[in-house]
Symmetry: C2
């Protein structure tokens, strides 16, 4: 049964995501992506006008799954908001302590595209990071944290820092140290703190 | 007067540093670097066996100047260690809030080389980050901070996080928020805290 247009598009994005993440934005060629997706270059360019558009589509495809993963880590950690924030970093430390992990795809793409301001993938990456920060602020507010917004802002810096340092040193101790700082930033509601 | 061998090498590294930083490791070609340095490719390859070696030399050339810059920011900020840590981030926020700034060269290189473990430039970058952390721990210890080592470890995560987020959002508010957290991590010696 031939693939319909949506399925073909998805297949191209999946192949692009894998190659862009594993090899880098510039290193992965459109030829290699088309081959991996099992489509002709003509078909690829029917769905995406340019490689730049495909890079943006790659990051857009990682937006919701990334949010879902962190939301699961947060929700599934038992205890107070402090515990949940610490749990987020503990899960992140575990997930990143493998050879397969090659950094945060959003940050690596921003690094590779640093000389092309206005690139559609930079916009997609910035939109994701804003959504992530808003999700975390909401999650903390639902836990009745009084400084949810300010805490979320500092915690995303710690998370991105942890991802960056992890790529340099491959040492989860930095991620756990960042998690302790992040947990200390959360101001528990008075009743909970007294419990 | 013809350049001697050391001067030629330095000229190549300077040209490489500029192109690698401005365009990216993979985007900048050896041809472009040789041309910018005003040498033939043969001369370039006499000094560096490979592009990989040249990438490592670029990061090594940025090690001491980067340490010197942060040491100056730290030393020249008046006040307590808390003020100095906050000052470090304030200076960083100013320095990075320009179009010319394109991220931390060490982190961007690690991002581009994520799929080549053991690359000499990854080693040079990791060595720099370790030296930076050791410098900061020493600087805090000289200010009689009781938790100098632990504070330095968390502060480098915040600094790398600030650099990463700055590249994504180009908003110094994140850097300043990270600076407040960093300042709060420093445990002042008792006498100073009471002053």
């Amino acid at each position: 049964m031939p693939l319909n247009s949506d399925q073909t598009r998805e297949r191209i994005v999946t192949a692009a995501a894998r190659l862009f993440y594993n090899e880098g934005i510039r290193a992965a060629s459109v030829d290699a992506i088309a081959e991996k997706a099992g489509v002709t270059k003509k078909t690829l360019y029917y769905h995406f006008r340019s490689k730049d558009e495909l890079i943006a589509a790659y990051l857009e495809s990682r937006d919701q799954p990334t949010l879902d993963l962190y939301a699961r880590w947060f929700d599934e950690t038992p205890g107070s908001a402090t515990d949940k924030v610490r749990g987020l970093f503990a899960e992140f430390a575990r997930a990143t302590d493998t050879v397969k992990w090659k950094g945060c795809g959003f940050l690596r793409t921003a690094a590779e595209l640093a000389n092309t301001p206005g690139h559609p993938a930079l916009k997609a990456g910035a939109a994701h990071k804003k959504r992530f920060e808003a999700w975390l602020a909401d999650a903390l507010a639902r836990e009745r944290i009084s400084n949810a917004k300010a805490a979320a802002r500092s915690i995303v810096v710690l998370l991105d820092g942890a991802a960056s340092v992890m790529l340099v040193h491959r040492d989860p101790a930095y991620v756990l140290a960042a998690g302790s700082v992040a947990a200390s930033l959360v101001e528990l509601p008075r009743a909970a703190a007294a419990e």
